[in-house]
C-alpha cells in the first residue's frame, strides 16, 4: 500500500509540470496539420469539384446571373481536406489556423465570386470565364489544334441544338 503510494508520488514528481502556457504562448502545429481550409480566390476557377466531394456539404455553388459564388461555411468544416485533394488548380490548402471560435457566425463564412462568360451564340451566362480559359488551355495543342475549339464558348443548350442540327437538321426547340 505505502510502496504504491510512494511509486505514484515518484511518477508525479518525475513528470513535473507538463501543462503548456497556451493560450499565452501559441501552440505550434505539426507538419501537414489540417486546419482551416484557405481558399485562394485568385486561383479558383469555379469548377465545383470541392463542393462535390465535401462530406459535410459546406461548400456550395450559387449561380446568379453573370456571377458564380463559391460559398464556404467554416462552422461545419470537419478538416478532412478532401477539397484540397481534388482541387485541380491547388486553390485550396489546409492551413495552420485552428482557433476559429467566434461569437459572430458570419466570421466563419467566405465567398469567392467569379465572373461568368456569356454564350457566344445566345448570349446567356453559362460558365465562369476562368473555367473556360483553363479548359481552353488544356485542349489546345492536342487534337484540337493550336486554337481552343469554337464550341467551348457555346452554352450546353446551344451545343445540343447545333449538334441536333448537324445530325438531322432537327430544330431543338425546348432547352431541357
Amino acid at each position: 500500500m505505502f510502496i504504491s503510494k510512494w511509486k505514484e508520488a515518484l511518477i508525479c514528481l518525475k513528470a513535473g509540470r507538463v501543462t503548456l502556457p497556451y493560450p499565452f504562448v501559441p501552440r505550434p502545429t505539426a507538419e501537414g496539420f489540417r486546419g482551416q481550409p484557405e481558399v485562394d480566390g485568385r486561383r479558383c476557377i469555379g469548377c465545383g469539384e470541392c463542393a462535390t466531394v465535401c462530406p459535410p456539404r459546406l461548400i456550395t455553388l450559387v449561380d446568379d446571373g453573370d456571377s458564380r459564388a463559391l460559398k464556404v461555411d467554416y462552422s461545419r468544416c470537419t478538416y478532412c481536406a478532401r477539397c484540397a485533394d481534388v482541387c485541380p488548380e491547388k486553390a485550396i490548402r489546409l492551413g495552420n489556423n485552428y482557433e476559429l471560435a467566434t461569437s459572430q457566425k458570419e466570421d466563419l463564412t467566405m465567398t469567392v465570386n467569379l465572373k461568368m462568360a456569356n454564350c457566344s451564340l445566345c448570349g446567356k451566362p453559362f460558365a465562369p470565364e476562368r473555367l473556360l480559359r483553363k479548359t481552353g488551355e488544356k485542349l489546345t495543342g492536342g487534337e484540337f489544334g493550336q486554337e481552343a475549339p469554337e464550341w467551348l464558348s457555346w452554352c450546353p443548350e446551344c451545343r445540343k441544338t447545333k449538334q441536333a442540327k448537324a445530325l438531322g437538321g432537327v430544330e431543338a426547340k425546348d432547352h431541357v
Binding site: 500500500m1 504504491s4 496539420f33 489540417r34 462530406p55 470537419t78 478538416y79 481536406a81
Partner: protein, 560 residues
C-alpha cells in the same frame, strides 16, 4: 465449422430444404420463412454456440415490395458469419421476437421496430428505444418513402417510458447527463438502502439519423468521414470498419501497404483509448493521480497521430479502397521512440497502481458479470474477455494486416471491474508490440486500390475490434450510395448487460461499473456531431426549471 457443415446442420434442424441461400465473402446468407426464425435463431445461438451481432432492418418495398430483417450471427472460432433473413409483408409487419431466446437481441429488435416499423411479437420489453419520446407514433424514419429532411410535428410528450420500480425500492437517477463521461445517458437505479435491486436505462438522446442521411444524400466516400465522426475516441475504427464493409461487398482488393497503415492506426487508437479510459476510471473513483498521469502519457500519442495524419483525432485517413496518407520513412523512428517512452511510462504506472489497495478495494468484486450472462447478452471486447469469453475480432475474423502479425489475447475469468481493468492494461502492451511488428514489416507499393467501383445489390459485413469491443458495419450497396448502412457500435451490447452488473451492488459503485464497460453513448446512438441544425430551441427560465424539477420530485421519481 465450415459453410457446408453449417448449411447441412441448418437444413437438418429445419427438417426441410432452406428456401434460398447465397454467400458473400465469409458470410452465409440464408433466406428463411418468418415462422422458422425463432427455432432457427435459438438453435444457432444455443446449440451451435453462435453469437448474435445485431439485426438489420431494411425497407425493400421499391424493389421487392417487402421489408427485410436480417439477424447477423458470428461463429467466432470459424471466421464465419451467418445472416438469417426474413421477408416481411408490409400489410402485416409483425415478426416473432427472438429476445426470449437470445436476450442480446432486445435492443436490436426494438430498433427495427422504431425505424422500420416491424413489430417484434412477444418482446419482453416493447418500449421505444431509439426515437425521441415526442416523435409521433407510426412514423418510421428509415422507410424509403420517408424524406430525409422531413420534420414531423411534435407529438404530445408522455415523458420517457419508464420501467416501474419494485415495491419498497427508491429510485435514484444517474443522468440524463452522465456525470463523468459528459455524454447523455439516463440510468434509473432501483435501490433498497444502499443496494441496487434493479435498473432502467433510457438513452439514444443523440440519435441523429445518420443511416438515413447515408442512403439518401451522401455517397460512398463521404460516408467514410461521417462514420469517423460517430466516435470522438475510436473514430478510425468506424471509418475503417465502414470501408471494409464496402470493400467486402464490392470485392475491392486493398493494397497491402494500406492494410498495414490501417493496422498501425487502429493500434495507436487503441493505445490512446485505453490510456484515456484508465484516466477516466481513476477519475470516477476519485483517484485523480491516475487521470493526470495516464493522460500525460497519452498526450504523446496524440501529438504523434497529429504528425502522421494531420490531426490528433479524426484522422481522416480512410477512403473506400485504401488510405489517403502514407506513413513516410522519416516518421518511423519517431513512432518507435514514442512507443518506447509510452511503454516504459505505462509500465511504471501499471506497477504502481497494481499494488494500490485503495484502488483494489474499489474495483475488485465490483460489477460482476458472469460468463453465461456475457454470452447471453452477446457482450464483446474487454468486457467479454474479463468474464472468460475468449473473443477478439482481430484473431477470430482477421482483417487488415492482423493475419500476418503475432499477438496474444488477454483473458480473465473474474468478471469484475478489476478484471476489465487488467484486460485493458495488458492490451496496452500487446498494442505497442503490434505497432512495432507492423512497422517492421511495412510493405511497399500503393496505398489506394486502382479500381474502387461499387456494384449495386451486394451485401458486405465487416467487424473491427475497437478498444471497447467489436464494432460492426453492414452495407447493402445501391447506386452511388448504399441502399442500407447499419452501424453497431461496441457499447450497444455492453449497455444491455449493465443491469446484470448492477445486481446487488452499492449505489456508490454504480458510476465505476458503468465506466468499466468503457461506454461510448454517442457511438451507440450514432450521433452526428457536425450538423448543428435543430428543430426548435427553447430557453427555460430559472423559475420554470425549478417548477419542473419540483413537480418531477412530487411525481414519484424520488421519495425524498
Amino acid at each position: 465449422m465450415t459453410r457446408e457443415e453449417l448449411t447441412r446442420k441448418l437444413t437438418e434442424h429445419l427438417g426441410k430444404a432452406l428456401p434460398a441461400m447465397s454467400t458473400a465473402g465469409n458470410m452465409l446468407l440464408v433466406k428463411i420463412k418468418a415462422e422458422d426464425l425463432p427455432t432457427l435463431a435459438g438453435y444457432v445461438f444455443n446449440q451451435l454456440g453462435a453469437r448474435l451481432i445485431t439485426t438489420v432492418g431494411t425497407d425493400r418495398t421499391p424493389l421487392t415490395g417487402n421489408y427485410e430483417v436480417s439477424y447477423l450471427f458470428s461463429f467466432d472460432r470459424a471466421d464465419l458469419f451467418l445472416s438469417l433473413k426474413v421477408e416481411i409483408d408490409p400489410a402485416n409487419p409483425v415478426i416473432e421476437s427472438v429476445t426470449p431466446v437470445i436476450p442480446g437481441a432486445d435492443w436490436a429488435e426494438r430498433e427495427v421496430r422504431d425505424l422500420i416499423g416491424v413489430v417484434p411479437k412477444n418482446h419482453p420489453d416493447p418500449r421505444r428505444l431509439v426515437l425521441a419520446d415526442d416523435w409521433p407514433e407510426e412514423l418510421y424514419p428509415l422507410r424509403k418513402d420517408f424524406p430525409y429532411d422531413y420534420k414531423p410535428p411534435q407529438a404530445t410528450v408522455a415523458g420517457p417510458r419508464m420501467k416501474k420500480a419494485p415495491e419498497q425500492a427508491t429510485v435514484m437517477t444517474v443522468g440524463p447527463f452522465f456525470p463523468t463521461l459528459e455524454e447523455p445517458a439516463y440510468f434509473r437505479l432501483f435501490v433498497e438502502g444502499e443496494r441496487i435491486v434493479g435498473s432502467d436505462y433510457r438513452g439514444f438522446y443523440s440519435h441523429r439519423g445518420i443511416e438515413k442521411l447515408a442512403d439518401t444524400v451522401l455517397d460512398y466516400n463521404k460516408i467514410t468521414f461521417l462514420a469517423e465522426r460517430i466516435c470522438g475516441i475510436c473514430g478510425f475504427v468506424h471509418s475503417c470498419c465502414y470501408c471494409q464493409a464496402v470493400e467486402a461487398a464490392a470485392e475491392i482488393e486493398v493494397p497491402a501497404r494500406a492494410k498495414y497503415i490501417r493496422t498501425i492506426m487502429l493500434e495507436l487508437e487503441r493505445l490512446h483509448s485505453h490510456l484515456l479510459w484508465l484516466g477516466l476510471a481513476g477519475h470516477i473513483i476519485g483517484f485523480d493521480t491516475v487521470l493526470m498521469q495516464s493522460w500525460r502519457i497519452r498526450e504523446q500519442l496524440m501529438w504523434l497521430t497529429e504528425q502522421i495524419t494531420g490531426n490528433r483525432k479524426t484522422y481522416g485517413m480512410n477512403l473506400v479502397g485504401g488510405v489517403r496518407r502514407d506513413i513516410p520513412e522519416k516518421l518511423q523512428p519517431k513512432i518507435k521512440e514514442v512507443l518506447a517512452k509510452v511503454e516504459s511510462e505505462s509500465r511504471q504506472v501499471v506497477e504502481a497502481i497494481a499494488g494500490d489497495t485503495t484502488l483494489l478495494m474499489r474495483l475488485q468484486n465490483v460489477g460482476y458479470l458472469s460468463a453465461a450472462d456475457a454470452r447471453s447478452f452477446c457482450v464483446v471486447g474487454p468486457t467479454a474477455r474479463a468474464s472468460g469469453v475468449d473473443i477478439d475480432s482481430r484473431r477470430d475474423h482477421p482483417y487488415a494486416a492482423y493475419p500476418d502479425l503475432q499477438f496474444t489475447v488477454p483473458v480473465y475469468n473474474e468478471g469484475d471491474t478489476w478484471a476489465r481493468t487488467l484486460v485493458r492494461l495488458d492490451e496496452l502492451f500487446v498494442s505497442i508490440d503490434l505497432v512495432r511488428q507492423a512497422l517492421g514489416r511495412l510493405p511497399g507499393g500503393p496505398i489506394m486500390a486502382e479500381n474502387t467501383e461499387v456494384p449495386p445489390e451486394r451485401e458486405g459485413l465487416a467487424v473491427v475490434e475497437a478498444p471497447r469491443g467489436e464494432c460492426c458495419h453492414y452495407v447493402l450497396t445501391g447506386t452511388d450510395r448504399p441502399e442500407r448502412w447499419r452501424v453497431r457500435a461496441s457499447t450497444y451490447p455492453q449497455l444491455q448487460a449493465a443491469p446484470s452488473m448492477f445486481a446487488n451492488q452499492t449505489v456508490a459503485d454504480a458510476p465505476i461499473i458503468i465506466g468499466s464497460i468503457d461506454p461510448c453513448f454517442s457511438c451507440t446512438e450514432r450521433m452526428e456531431t457536425v450538423d448543428v441544425e435543430s428543430g426548435k430551441l427553447r430557453v427555460y427560465t430559472r423559475e420554470e426549471l425549478l417548477k419542473a424539477g419540483r413537480a418531477g420530485c412530487k411525481g414519484g421519481d424520488s421519495r425524498a
